[in-house]
């Protein structure tokens, strides 16, 4: 149980840190702006060079990893385990 918790926390903080840095580079026009981290990507991915394109892709990957990773370890896997245990308990009863 504690293992699953630290896996979720590790993914959330690690991927979140990577995402927030990349979003600070590509989706933050200014630190005085009221739309930081969520502004449209700049430079435009359509004519960005390879390294910028990789970083922009990595930014989205890290964001979804930070969302889906904890969801899997904190909710989905424990729920599946509970469900399996319940099914087996009912079968044995």
């Amino acid at each position: 149980m504690a293992d699953e918790f630290i896996k979720g926390v590790g993914i959330f903080t690690g991927a979140g840190l990577g995402w927030i840095v990349l979003a600070g580079w590509y989706r933050t026009p200014s630190f005085e702006s009221t739309r930081q981290l969520v502004s449209p990507v700049s430079p435009n991915p359509a004519n960005a060079d390879l390294f910028n394109l990789l970083a922009i892709g990595l930014m989205d990957v890290l964001l979804w990893f930070a969302i889906l990773g904890p969801l899997a370890f904190w909710v989905l896997l424990p729920a599946a385990r509970q469900a399996r245990k319940a099914v087996e308990g009912r079968r044995n009863a």
């Binding site: 840095v21 600070g24 630190f31 005085e32």
Partner: protein
């Protein structure tokens, strides 16, 4: 020597490093199956099972052959605490360097001292005090004065600061802090949660011209949300306390037992 009288663990095989009573969980304090079954509902049951498991793990640790009972209720400063603190310091220092290197903030134009900005605000940790200056709607206009107010709104706000700081200063005299966990004193925990929520809501009131919501609703929520949070906290902790074992806590914290 009522302290030692309660240590009827009878575990002479436990080695100690300087005499004194071993504080091993006595078997006769372990609840019976009947007592366990009496606590069968939801949150109190969960609380009970959590602390029961903690007690059991502690008991198992203490009965291991290489366990040495110590007279101190803490770890040594060197190396245990120091190494831990240094690693924490290193982590946060590294994090500051990392963020400063990857996201260097743009330094804007110098401030113009001859013009006042449209929005003036103190630093964020003083928003609560700034919010207390905006309690004008609470300042009553008295019929006896012909609808006049007894004090100006700005004086009223300053007096509100005096009242809030005074209440916070009085709290340590009303509650000496003998509880080791919130579950032991649901009322004071609820008061604390309400205070924290009020600090948050009054800070939001301070920036009401930046808040994307109705100002009157914001003003009402500023005072309603702390009451709601206090009530919920009190209800939850009061429920949890039914499953809480005071004996476990007293064993761990001999220095300042709960009242």
């Amino acid at each position: 020597m009522s302290e030692t009288d309660t240590n009827t663990d009878g575990s002479e095989e436990a080695r100690t490093d300087g005499g004194g009573p071993g504080i091993v969980a006595p078997d006769d304090e372990t609840p019976t199956w009947r007592e366990r079954k009496e606590r069968t509902t939801g949150l109190s049951r969960l609380t009970y099972e959590y602390f029961e498991r903690a007690r059991r793990e502690d008991q198992d640790l203490r009965t291991e052959s290489d366990y040495v009972e110590r007279d101190v209720l803490a770890f040594p400063t060197w190396p245990h605490e120091t190494v831990r603190n240094l690693s924490i310091v290193a982590f946060f220092t590294g994090m500051i360097f990392f963020l400063a290197a990857t996201m260097p903030p743009h330094i804007g134009a110098p401030a113009n001292p001859s013009s006042t900005p449209a929005i003036i605000l103190p630093d964020w940790y003083l928003y609560w005090s700034f919010g207390l200056l905006k309690l004008g709607p609470l300042n009553p206009d008295l019929a006896i004065l012909g609808g006049q107010k007894l004090t100006a709104d700005r004086t009223y706000g300053v007096l509100a600061n005096v009242v809030v700081v005074g209440v916070i200063a009085i709290v340590p005299f009303l509650n000496k802090g003998s509880a080791r966990r919130p579950v032991e004193q649901p009322f004071w925990s609820a008061v604390g949660v309400g205070g924290v929520v009020f600090a948050l809501t009054i800070s939001l009131l301070a920036v009401k011209n930046l808040m994307p919501m109705n100002v009157h609703l914001l003003f009402d929520l500023t005072f309603l949300l702390p009451i709601v949070a206090t009530t919920i906290t009190y209800a939850i902790l009061k429920t949890m306390r039914e499953g809480y074992m005071y004996d476990l806590n007293r064993r761990y914290y001999r220095l300042r037992p709960p009242k």
